[in-house]
């Protein structure tokens, strides 16, 4: 049969010389109008005929199932002409009844019904007394569905030859339709005789038996069924026949059946004859069962394959070679490269020799159904040294941010679903627009370890972050960022004493790790061990009188003068030690002695030009001194060198704003957003500008939907500046474990004071002071300012060394607390409040001069 797929394939076009007859479709078994016609077969593309594939004669096309016979039209026509003319010739040569029947049969075979009718009429007249001719014509009429005509011929044939089986069967069929079953039976009596099946088809007898059954004459029906069973024993194995017989037996209440036992045949189930009207239920069931068995077998094979092909990876980031032995596997030598093993599920004893020796039991396995669901992998991380980063990325039109999980410190790690083990995820996937797909990669973290530690801390895995940092710090003691990250993690985990003791162990590391010492000093001072710290460093200086140790000893000093002497000595010993200059500059800055601070800050920045902090400090000094143009040009020069430099961007903003060139500042920020630099940097800069310019409404709007830390902080700033203290506290709660910034707490306190929210003010103040005390000697001194109601000593305040902004905030708070010294304290605060970073505007608001009563309207 022609068929097309998406309009491409073969198709019939054309319908000539059509004729139809009523008959039974050989395929679907329905009694329908079967159609025959000439047509042409085409190869079609989108149903457009392209290539003719020949003329065809379609025979008996069923309108229901469209099944048909097809012949080559030319061969059909040739065969038709030869057969019919041959039969006609034979008939003309010898006009016998057989020859006439042959002509008629040929005409019918080739669907020449009209001509067959003509011949049929001649035959009816000419062979009126020939019973076989009449019987043949009757059969032909039945074939054409002309029942009335067929009956007339059957009757005539029966009159002529009552012994002929054909008319008897034809007439009996009619009697059955009329309900005259006994007459029909009489006509079919020859079929009931023993051995009849050897000469005749017993179909009419079954038809009669069924008619008896339908008429509820079950005795007669059963008698006929018994004859059928005797004559045709295989019929007993046909299910439909058995059911029919059983129906009559049941109606008669017979307990014994005439049916033999049904033979079971597996082959028969699959190849059994089709009952009328469709496939047998048992066969359907058997085929279905076979398909299910095949599917189950496929699943079982697939599952077994998965079970036998589990992936185990071995990573070794210890830097030393290690031998990994698994039960039943050859020993693997693990250097730095990743190694992959494919193992069947089970328990394996793992022994690691060499670096980080360890023995443990590796259990690989999962549930039957879990095998289909996940892509699990097992990772043997030698010594737990490698940092594994699992990244879960959602591919969608609007994807959520990727989820990153860190794993380190454990020798054996299990990841239940990793689609890309130790591979990079694709940049993009081709999907449907509504589709969403999640892929997970696992990789060994190769970036700066500080990033991993910061990230772990941010994810609330501070304990793990501490462990990672402690693992890596001895290897990279000069990594200042890692030291800072370690401190943050220790603070978040409230493990400052642990951090201090850890850092103490590394004080003797050489070359000397400056940041390591500084961190240690901060922790010691936060713990209130200033004196012992000074002694400790005295001994170190004595033992090793280096510039660095002098500098560090200066930091440990309780008195600014003593500290300055050590810094000076350090500069003498090593004039190119930037920290020694910056320490002095810092001290001057905290006193708002901007002039004194300038050369020192310039020298420090010159010695360490890449240091953002030094650069920003220098700019702050210059801004305080009103040297805006210099700041502007230096910031622009820096941005030219490093386009994504945060410090340069911030300082340029500050310079513009200090010169009231707000539009230029905004344009600069906007140009940055459009320049294609990192989105994070552009966002930061935009928000910095919005805050610095005092546009808090826009700032709030900008940060409202941002759930990142930066977004939350920025939103909190905007809210605080607008007096929405409670909301700000909800965004960044004071009691949050991660809250480690004392100045933020103090800023809330200040904002609450300005808003008249006393309870929040006190709470925030207490929290801020608590954190301040932990921060070091200068901070501790500052905290003491709030423990007394007595008037403050301005000289003492001046000696407190704190970052200018922090000190400014404390002074602003102090100014509110000590109203009698307000002017003095507020003035000092305003002098220090140079940088427009948060809480610049709060401080400005809190310290603005009180108008004299006489000018109040």
């Amino acid at each position: 049969m022609p068929s097309t797929y998406n309009g491409i394939g073969t198709h019939y076009y054309g319908n000539r010389n059509a004729e139809s007859r009523t008959g039974v479709c050989q395929s679907c078994g329905r009694s329908v109008g079967l159609k025959s016609y000439n047509t042409r077969l085409w190869f079609v593309v989108f149903f457009v005929p392209i290539i003719p594939l020949g003329r065809k004669r379609i025979i008996d096309q069923c309108p229901s199932c469209s099944r048909h016979y097809v012949y080559d039209l030319d061969k059909w026509e040739t065969a038709k002409q030869l057969s019919i003319s041959g039969a006609m010739d034979a008939y003309h040569a010898s006009p016998t009844p057989e020859a006439a029947i042959d002509v008629h049969r040929q005409l019918l075979a080739f669907h020449e019904v009209a001509q067959a009718d003509e011949i049929g009429r001649v035959m009816t007249e000419k062979y009126h007394d020939q019973a076989k001719v009449q019987a043949y014509l009757a059969d032909a009429m039945m074939h054409l569905g002309r029942i009335q005509e067929a009956q007339a011929h059957y009757t005539r044939a029966y009159e002529l030859r009552p012994d002929l089986p054909e008319p008897r069967i034809g007439l009996a069929r009619r009697r059955v339709l009329e309900g005259k079953l006994d007459e029909a039976r009489q006509l079919l009596d020859f079929l009931e005789k023993p051995g009849a099946a050897q000469l005749y088809s017993l179909g009419p007898l079954e038809h009669l038996a069924n008619a008896y059954q339908a008429a509820r004459r079950h005795e007669e029906a059963l008698h006929l069924y018994r004859i059928l069973l005797e004559e045709l024993p295989p019929i007993a194995q046909i299910k439909s026949f058995r059911k029919t017989v059983q129906r009559s037996e049941k109606a008669l209440g017979r307990k014994e059946t005439v049916l033999p036992r049904k033979e079971f045949s597996l082959k028969g189930i699959f190849s059994g004859s089709r009952p009328p009207g469709g496939t047998s239920l048992l066969r359907k069931f058997a085929v279905g069962a076979a398909i299910i068995v095949l599917i189950c077998a496929g699943f079982a094979i697939g599952n077994e394959y998965i079970r036998r092909h589990r992936h185990v990876y071995i990573v070794n980031a210890t830097g030393k070679p290690a031998n990994v032995e698994l039960t039943g596997q050859p020993t693997l030598q693990s250097g730095g490269a990743l190694q992959e093993l494919t193992l069947p599920e089970g328990e394996y004893h793992v022994a690691i020799r060499g670096a980080a020796p360890e023995e443990f039991l590796l259990k690989i396995g999962s549930d039957y159904f879990d095998r289909w669901a996940g892509d699990p992998i097992w990772v043997i991380n030698v010594g737990g040294a490698a940092v594994l980063v699992e990244q879960q990325v959602t591919y969608a039109r609007n994807p959520p941010p990727a989820e990153v999980t860190w794993a380190t410190g454990n020798t054996l790690e299990y990841f239940p679903k990793v689609t890309h083990p130790f591979q990079n995820l694709p940049e993009s996937l081709q999907m449907k627009s509504h589709e969403q797909r999640v892929l997970t990669s696992l990789n060994v973290f190769r970036g700066p370890m500080s990033g991993a530690v910061f990230s772990l801390s941010a994810k609330g895995q501070a304990a793990k972050a501490l462990k990672v940092a402690e693992e890596h710090l001895p290897r990279t003691p000069q990594d200042e960022l890692l030291v800072q990250a370690y401190l943050d993690a220790a603070s978040a985990q409230n493990e400052l004493s642990r951090a201090e003791s850890f850092l103490r162990k590394g004080l003797n590391l050489r070359p000397l790790a400056m940041q390591w010492h500084r961190a240690y000093q901060s922790l010691a001072m936060a713990a209130g061990r200033e004196d012992s710290l000074a002694n400790e460093y005295d001994m170190m200086v004595k033992a090793e009188p280096s510039a660095e140790l002098h500098y560090l000893r200066g930091r440990a000093s309780g008195s600014p003068a003593e500290a300055e002497s050590f810094f000076a000595r350090a500069r003498e010993l090593n004039p190119s030690l930037p920290q020694a200059y910056f320490a002095s500059a810092y001290s001057a800055m905290s006193r708002a002695d901007w002039v004194a601070a300038l050369p020192l800050a310039e020298k420090a920045a010159a010695l360490k030009p890449k240091d953002d902090h030094y650069f920003e400090s220098l700019c702050e000094v210059k801004l305080a001194l009103g040297r805006f143009a210099e700041v502007e040009s230096e910031a622009q020069a820096r941005l030219k060198r490093l386009p994504a430099d945060v410090a340069g961007g911030r300082m340029l903003c500050e310079a513009y704003l200090a010169q009231n060139r707000n539009k230029e500042a905004e344009a600069f920020v906007g140009s940055y957003a459009r320049s294609g630099e990192t989105e994070e940097f552009a966002t930061y800069l935009r928000r910095y500008y919005l805050y610095a310019s005092g546009d808090f409404a826009r700032l709030q709007k900008d940060a409202r939907m941002d759930r990142s830390n930066m977004g939350r902080n920025t939103l909190a700033w905007a809210l605080l500046e607008q007096g929405e203290i409670e909301q700000a506290c909800r965004v960044c709660p004071l009691d949050e474990k991660a809250m480690s910034d004392p100045y933020y707490c103090l800023a809330i306190s200040l904002a609450a004071k300005l808003a008249g929210q006393t309870s929040t003010e006190q709470h925030a103040l207490q929290r801020g002071l608590e954190l301040l005390k932990r921060s070091g000697s200068g901070a501790g001194q500052a905290a003491k300012l709030f423990q007394t109601e007595a008037p403050l000593n301005m000289a003492e305040i001046e000696s407190i060394e704190l970052p200018a902004r922090g000190k400014s905030l404390i002074l602003a708070l102090a100014a509110i607390r000590h109203s009698d010294q307000r002017e003095l304290l507020a003035g000092a605060a305003r002098r220090l409040n140079v940088s427009r970073a948060f809480p610049y505007h709060l401080i400005q608001q809190a310290t603005k001069p009180v108008p004299s009563p006489d000018i109040v309207p």
Partner: protein, 640 residues
């Protein structure tokens, strides 16, 4: 290939063999190698094609590679499946009662002695069957690739018929085929031919789904190869039959060897034409299978046939001629080769050659086990015969009932052809041709040309060796072409029996023509081509007038040409080709559908003495129509 062509090939091979026997062997060897190469090559082509698809798939990317892998895999799978179908054809081992060494030590002693004497391959198994024959079965363990195992089949009727000495000659003949006397190559070719004969017969059967794929590739090769190999190997095999006879003569004596051949010939006929048909005819009356069948068989053999019949059979046995359908030479040739031509039995002593000798080989060699063998064989026969016997009995009952109903109109039998013919057919089915003879004659009295009646009467008369049979067969074939095959085959059997070689050739030629014509019509579907030769129609004026009268009713017809296609002389019915020319339409050529429509209307009205094919200048036969139009004096009608 036709019988005539095969006979020619055999003759050529015989002529070659007469000059140089070695050349014949080499030729057969070459053909055998070609056979192996062809068979394996055809299958290799499938494998190479499948592997090529997979190979190309290796260089492509998914999904194209997957498609090619799948296709290649399917081709390979189909190739393996079909190779299994061709090479691993399971030939059924011969059926019968296995005869072990302990059962028949005397028989095995003869077999061992002959095997040693002839240095022949041993028999894997000896079985006793119900046939009146002895034969060696070779079952190739690897299909066409060979590695045969040998089974000896001894028919109990044969053992009952001949003496132990005569059986020794028979066994010597069979062993000779397996011995080195034929030469290694000769034995191998002999066996190869027999194996391939069975396998190619299976291959040529209607294609099963399993073998259809391979058949397409193999059938053309087999059609070319097999007749050539078979013809050459046939000549060699026949020569080896004579050699085997010579061995039998040498080891058992010419007297015993020749007597065995004659006894087998006559008693086979006795069993085939008398004993078994008569036994089965009892199924008409008795629903139960008869008991002691093989004792009855022995008794029937001992009783023999009337002397006149025996004399006739004896005469016919020596009159029979060689056939190229069977490698075994005719009896006369074998007796002559054995030097026994002058000792031919006189017709008066014919009855002594019929029936069983006493003591028979069965009694001598199987004595203690003979009754058990008879019983086992009978049990086996009963098992096989049970259903056919029951069916035959049931059919007989039904036929009797039918005969009774026909007999109700007994008075019309003599006048009503239809009733007479029904009765004749019923009697033939029930009682055989002999009983139906009077009714058949009644049918022929009513219509002498009745094809069926002529055929059956001919068949009956042929069994009586009545020359009138030929007349009836001829009439039957003239009236009904479908009877050509059975009638010719019956006549062929008869003429072979009486040794009429001219008639044999004539009938074989007729069969060849008939089969070729049928096959060609079947295969081509088209029977006309431009290459055909067309002859003048030779119609009478009256017939032409009648034709023109019909044609002039079709107004679209402009002219008509009529010719006769030249057909082989054996094809009785003429084929007329009527080429129609219709009115030309503006900017349109001849329309095939229009011609077809006119042809359909003319079909039942045109009266010509033969078949008619109506064509036109459009459609499939347009080239033929142009060729006819170019001939002289073919136009029979033109509208004025």
């Amino acid at each position: 290939m036709t019988r005539e062509k095969f006979d020619r090939l055999v003759k050529e091979a015989e002529a070659g063999a007469a000059q140089d026997d070695r050349a014949l062997r080499w030729r057969i060897l070459r053909l055998a190698i070609i056979g192996y190469v062809g068979l394996i090559g055809a299958l290799s082509a499938v494998f190479i094609f499948g592997l090529s698809l997979i190979f190309v798939g290796c260089f492509l990317t998914p999904p194209n590679s997957g498609i090619l892998f799948s296709l290649g895999g399917l081709v390979l799978l189909a190739g393996v499946w079909n190779a299994m179908g061709v090479f691993w054809i399971r030939l059924k081992p011969p059926e019968g009662i296995a005869l072990h060494r302990d059962d028949a030590p005397a028989l095995y002693a003869i077999l061992d002695e002959l095997q040693r004497a002839l240095k022949a391959a041993p028999f894997r198994k000896v079985v006793v069957s119900d046939a009146c024959n002895a034969s060696v079965y070779e079952l190739p363990r690897l299909g066409v690739l060979g590695w045969p195992s040998h089974h000896l089949v001894l028919g109990l009727p044969l053992l009952e018929t001949i003496s132990a000495e005569e059986l020794r000659a028979v066994l010597a003949h069979e062993f000779a085929h397996l011995s080195k006397r034929h030469g290694r190559a000769g034995t191998w070719i002999y066996r190869l031919r027999r194996s391939w004969e069975q396998i190619f017969r299976r291959l040529n059967e209607a294609p099963s789904q399993q073998r259809a794929f391979t058949r397409v590739l193999l059938i053309r090769f087999v059609d070319w190869f097999w007749p050539r190999f078979n013809a050459n190997a046939f000549v060699l095999s026949r020569a080896q039959e004579f050699e085997a006879d010579s061995v039998a003569t040498h080891l058992a004596g010419a007297h015993h060897a020749a007597n065995a051949l004659l006894r087998i010939e006559l008693n086979s006929r006795l069993l085939g034409e008398r004993f078994w048909p008569e036994l089965w005819r009892t199924a008409n009356e008795d629903a139960n299978l008869p008991s002691d069948v093989f004792l009855r068989l022995r008794d029937a053999l001992r009783a023999g046939v009337p002397s006149a019949t025996a004399a006739q059979w004896m005469e016919e046995a020596f009159l029979a001629v060689n056939s190229n359908q069977d490698t075994h030479p005719c009896l006369a040739a074998r007796w002559t080769a054995m030097g026994r031509n002058r000792q031919r039995p006189a017709s008066g002593v014919s009855t002594s050659w019929m029936g069983a000798v006493e003591p028979s080989a069965a009694e001598t060699l199987l004595s203690p086990m003979l009754n058990r063998i008879r019983l086992d064989l009978e049990r086996r026969w009963r098992k096989d015969a049970e259903k056919p016997w029951r069916d035959m009995h049931a059919k007989a009952q039904s036929l009797k009932a039918r005969l009774e109903t026909i007999d109700l109109a007994r008075d019309r039998v003599e006048t009503d052809l239809e009733i007479a013919w029904d009765k004749a057919l019923t009697i033939i089915d029930l009682q055989g041709d002999l009983a139906a003879e009077p009714v058949l004659r009644q049918v022929l009295a009513l219509r002498p040309s009745h094809p069926g009646a002529n055929f059956y009467l001919g068949r009956h008369l042929l069994s009586l060796a009545d020359d009138q049979a030929v007349l009836h067969f001829t009439r039957a074939m003239e009236e009904d072409e479908s009877l050509t095959l059975p009638a010719s085959e019956a006549l062929l059997g008869y003429y072979r029996r009486v040794g009429n070689t001219d008639k044999i050739r004539e009938i074989e030629a007729r069969l060849d023509t008939h089969e070729t014509a049928s096959r060609t019509a079947e295969q081509r579907g088209m029977i006309l081509s431009r290459a055909d030769t067309f002859l003048p129609h030779l119609l009478t004026d009256e017939q032409l007038d009648s034709l023109c009268g019909v044609l002039c009713r079709h107004l679209d017809l402009v002219s008509a040409d009529l010719v006769r296609k030249e057909l082989p002389p054996s094809m009785r019915r003429q084929l007329f080709v009527l080429s129609l020319h219709t009115r030309r339409r503006f900017l349109r050529g001849p329309d095939a559908d229009e011609i077809t429509a006119i042809a359909n209307r003319l079909l039942t009205t045109v009266k010509l003495p033969g078949r008619v094919l109506i064509i036109g200048p459009a459609g499939t036969y347009r080239a033929v129509a142009r060729k006819i139009a170019a001939l002289d004096n073919v136009e029979v009608y033109r509208r004025v």
